[in-house]
Amino acid sequence: MSAELALRGASMRADGVTAGYGGDPVIHAVSVRAEPREVVSIVGPNGSGKSTLLKSLVGVLHVSAGTVMIGDRDVTNLPPEEVARAGVGYVPQVDDVFAPLTVRENLEMGGYLLPRTQVSAHIEQVMAVFPRLGSMLGRPAGKLSGGERKMLAMGRVLMLEPAVFLLDEPTASLAPAIARSLLDEHVRRLAEGGATVLIVEQRARAVLAISDRTYVLGGGRLQLEGTPAKLSASPDFVRSFLGGGGQSIPSGGA
């Protein structure tokens, strides 16, 4: 569990990003930023545009207005492979592994850009971070459990030691205990290892616990922004999830 990561983070900035699937934009002028060694989370109800935002940051969706910067480099509307080469590791919510390929092959694909001689060393390193993957290197990725699969997806991205990690609801469809350990142990550790982590989550309380800063998205627009402590205390925060007027906040358990 004590594998030390030495990642070199880069700041990621999105300014006024407007994007969608061809018709009306789904997200409107959204600005977020994340710095090295930070976990920055984006939360919000279903359909608020969280995944759309992430897809537009990595070049999967066309950005119709705004800019996306990695460090000093403008990556707005670069194709996904060039964004990846600029140091961004993206874990999509679904279709996050090559299901017909084995675990090892998935990791090799993740390390596609590495010099051949370094691939094994990087696989070793990923296995040190995700020890459970070590015993299943020969298994097809499609046969893994939900938690293992998500670890593989993150491990695949880790192969290139990206400067910025973009994680799209990594805990979706995971049991609560597994979700918590994934966030606490692994996501947090990426930032502690030096990387920049931008994570989209629906489990707001759990992700707040590991975040340095949080953005709340609603209806495709930025609603709130702040530190987890500040947000948890705000009545607007609960309202942004459940809507409605100015009810008192029920005392949370997390």
Binding site: E81, A84, P92, V97, F98, M109, G110, Y112, L113
Partner: protein, 288 residues
């Protein structure tokens, strides 16, 4: 020597030729999503390129190499000029199949317009005759089997160990995710066309060597065998195509010996239709 053994011998040669073509076809479909019915027409083009080299006084084996290069180029052009523009526009798979059939007509009858309808043969020796455990095979036939084994081993090494092969598999499995890994999929697709095009030219030439004399429409029926092998193993599945080629090749020749030579395609045909009806993902395919 028994008829059975002799027919197995013929079957092995058919399988060898078929394997080269079927692997090329299935990789093309798996990686690029084009069900390229012009494949047999490109094979024909390769066979004729080798013929022209051959009649210019060179060995047919030199012609084979030139045919591979020519078909590689032709396939890349086919993709860049025709298929990719249609795919970019979001045309349905069925539109692409019709387009590929149109391209098949253009290439096949373009060749016929040039060469006329007369069958031709390569100028080459058949070499010695060998008896191997009851099978009788000529040097050339052994060379064909050897080439096929080399192609199969090569494809295995390519897919399993090489960077390009891995990128091809990643692109076939999940194109978007492959791009997120930094793989330049459009380049991978171009290289796939180049590679499978070369296999197509190789298959066309050894097919022509195997059948002795050929004309512009000879490989038409061979397309039936290719499709049968591909669908038997599972479309897009390279190892499935190898298995399919072996089964179809031997089954057709053995049935030709025991039923009637004219009906050897029926076995392939029945196998193809049965797979389409019962298990479209093929013997080795994952999905039902």
């Amino acid at each position: 020597m028994s008829i059975f053994l002799a027919s197995v011998g013929f079957g092995l040669i058919t399988s060898a030729v078929l394997a080269i073509a079927a692997i090329g076809f299935t990789l093309q479909f798996g990686v690029t999503d084009v069900l390229n019915l012009a494949f047999a027409a490109v094979m024909t083009a390769g066979a004729y390129v080798a013929y022209w080299v051959n009649v210019s006084g060179f060995s047919v084996w030199i012609g084979l190499l030139v045919a591979m290069a020519a078909c590689s180029l032709l396939s890349v052009l086919l993709n860049v000029v025709v298929y990719t523009p249609f795919q970019r526009r979001g045309s349905s798979p069925i539109t692409l199949v019709i387009v590929s059939l149109g391209m098949a007509l253009i290439i096949e009858f373009g060749i016929e317009a040039k060469v006329g309808g007369i069958d031709v043969s390569y100028t080459m020796g058949q070499g010695r005759t060998f008896r191997v455990g009851g099978l009788i095979l000529t040097t050339v036939q052994l060379v064909i089997i050897g080439i096929s084994l080399v192609v199969m081993a090569g494809v295995h090494v390519l897919l399993k160990y090489s960077r390009l092969g891995k990128a091809m598999r990643a692109t076939a499995a999940n194109r978007t995710l492959a791009r997120n890994c930094g793989i330049r999929t459009s380049r991978v697709i171009t290289l796939t066309w180049a590679l499978t095009g070369a296999m197509c030219g190789l298959a066309g030439t050894v097919f022509a060597i195997d059948i002795g004399s050929f004309g512009p429409t000879s490989p038409d029926l061979f397309l039936v065998l290719i499709l049968a092998a591909v669908f038997l193993g599972g479309p897009g599945h390279a190892y499935g195509a190898m298995l399919g080629a072996l089964l179809i090749g031997i089954a057709t020749e053995v049935s030709a010996a025991f039923i009637a030579p004219d009906y050897k395609y029926v076995v392939a045909f029945v196998a193809l239709l049965a797979m389409l009806a019962i298990r479209p993902a093929g013997l080795l395919g994952a999905r039902a």
